[in-house]
Symmetry: C2
Subunit: 466 residues, 2 copies
Amino acid sequence: MRKKILNYDELVREAGFAINSPTKGCIVILEYGYKIWEIIQRRLDQLIKDTGHSNVYFPLFIPESLMNKEKEHVEGFSPECAVVTHGGGVRLQESLIVRPTSETIMYETYRTLITSYRDLPLKYNQWANVVRWEKRPRPFLRTTEFLWQEGHTAHATQEESIEEVLRMLNIYKTFIEEYLAIPVIAGRKSDNEKFAGAVATYTVEALMRDKKALQCGTSHDLGQSFSKVFEIKFQDKENKQQYVWQTSWGVSTRLIGAAIMAHRDDKGVILPPLIAPYQVVVIPINNLVNAEYIVRIEKELKDKGLRYVIDNRDESAGSKFNKWELKGVPIRLEIGDRECERQTISATSRLGKKVNTPINEFFNSIDSLLLNFQNELFVRATEFQKTNTFDIDQFTEFKNLFGQGKSSGFVKAYFCGSKECEDTIKSETFGVTSRCIPLDETNGEGSCICCKKDVNGKKTIFAKAY
Amino acid sequence: MRKKILNYDELVREAGFAINSPTKGCIVILEYGYKIWEIIQRRLDQLIKDTGHSNVYFPLFIPESLMNKEKEHVEGFSPECAVVTHGGGVRLQESLIVRPTSETIMYETYRTLITSYRDLPLKYNQWANVVRWEKRPRPFLRTTEFLWQEGHTAHATQEESIEEVLRMLNIYKTFIEEYLAIPVIAGRKSDNEKFAGAVATYTVEALMRDKKALQCGTSHDLGQSFSKVFEIKFQDKENKQQYVWQTSWGVSTRLIGAAIMAHRDDKGVILPPLIAPYQVVVIPINNLVNAEYIVRIEKELKDKGLRYVIDNRDESAGSKFNKWELKGVPIRLEIGDRECERQTISATSRLGKKVNTPINEFFNSIDSLLLNFQNELFVRATEFQKTNTFDIDQFTEFKNLFGQGKSSGFVKAYFCGSKECEDTIKSETFGVTSRCIPLDETNGEGSCICCKKDVNGKKTIFAKAY
């Protein structure tokens, strides 16, 4: 009997990453999902600190008057805000906005923290929860509350702040490619898609297994838009008052969704070893005979510093295999009487390879097995992205590709960047949007895929997006 | 000229732990304060995981109807709640409570997670922010929003759940004594002071330098109060339906305040090395001459895995000394021409000891210097607690001790435990409350300090509290 192929939402639930919560639009992140977040956090936190940033913590609630200070910002976020109107048993004189992002609350304080060029650069990061009202929630990808880190820096010069924007974008790209084994395209957003209040937004975009795009992280060049509104000034070396140049950047628990969506197959999830809660699952076929052998295997796994689980539950081996395949554990060890007797290990990779080798040999090679697994996943995802990226110069072809609202990967096309064309494309392709202008694309000449106006520069990437 | 002695709030601000935020009742935790939280988190998280708990994440918002399910719980917390009435641009049909604690939102899900004895014990923890409206905020000690961890477990038997309550209380006690160098009294709260909805609340109470008590952490025996209301049942081995037995326990960023308040002197903070953001500060007296020597010192500090800072700012040595004394760094190295020439280190401990030793010798002894510092702080705080604990059996004496509202440490007295007596004591002593009945107190006989009724059992600890 063929098993039903689970869709993304089912997969998240059945594999135990998260379940729906009693609060609309919000999920409960279960231990199997949260462990991935902890691994992501630990590594990313180190990368953020290594580049000179410090962690701080600003309040969850933003007084409405602060939120309203930067015009574009409030217009962009108001429709998504949760509003606290009562506190301590009384109606508040001023409502509090549950932070959708922390520019306003942080920059009000930056004004008092920064007075001289000696206070710059100011490089803060915080790990926090944020709330953006979500009408069509998807676990991890779009939820009303989510967890993230948000970096907020202030610099003396524009040059320095742009350098910071690209440095953090590059850290995201490297991290996602290395740890999540997902190739991403780093690029600049169109004006239509940029962050509310930013001068420019940079993004890393990935292609999921269902051929939809996922924005995995953003880095914003805020210029002086906020510093002028929040009066964040410093005295420069020549004793002149100057406004600071600012950046903000973040990634969220959406990355857990990305890892699930980018590597799945019909049996379930396939997790990259570097972020897998368990890199190895040990399944004893017969609990009585080989208990001692299992102890030895456990010792080897522990000594290697690997994350592992031993599944001793009172269930059939077959149902255990299915469970851990669904959950995406990279390597499964099946230990029966034969393995015990011959002192061997039978190992099956979640990508299908099987080996049966003497135990010493196996543990000598396990690091490279996992490394190869990680690389193979990345190569597989890179090939998938390549196969599903289309260079197109006719709008009809573009429209056909996404006909009936299907998702068909990335389209590369010349685009004039106007809001009119972006809206036309969206409405005639069942919702395709521009994802970014890739940074490493070469310049060329062509005509806008929509209005046919001459375009001198780089092609833009389009896709159906989450 | 004698410097002004800073009060607690000033100390927190001037030493750079936290500053007031634009949001009423909330603070901004700056990097120097947040680093302490990160150190606390990392260690405590390990202790929590080592005892078999897993981290998860539940929503920030609790639907009002859930919050209202357990009667005592909602009565206790309603006056402190922040309420979201609008979201996504519209008025909500049901208001959302910003979690003051997560029993209700978590246990609604526990019902679906637990069906059989095989699902027990369920041992979850989460690191999160919570909101409890605060009219008289003090940084770290009482703020409208604070950060904490909250553990929530469910067990098959009452015995097991009580064991868990005491296990976690003991972990808090050991952690606070070892890491924060603060002696705490572990005990049980009076009915008047227990957690809203709990059968019993256990606490660890510490004495601050200003002779006020601080509740540092609590562990609640929830019995079956919540499981009966939330219908959390399991099928036991005999196929009978049973309600689970539950516990919850937490510590918060208040611990940062505890560390600041428990060890201060007139010059500022004194931080225990195990939680100090910087264990060592290096102050080069002359930047030009000894740059190379400083590089060597830095290498030694790094190799030792110590947390350190080198203060190269363009300021006088004296003002640097004051700054780092205020901030409480345990060991200060002063490196001038003489030290460089003779290859020695001049080190001054924040507790006053000075040494000048050859560099090799110094770095061979630095671990024990820090260890001794940590121990000395604990001994000092223990003596302070002892000196300021009074065994009292006359109410007049009790009242005199706290006359004019002054704080005078811990009082040990027989107490009948009634709400009437607790209220009388509070009103006649300018707000003294019962802190706990210490677990390790021996049983005795006496009469209630207030109503003179016979008491057969342990004495109770009283104090003015934060």
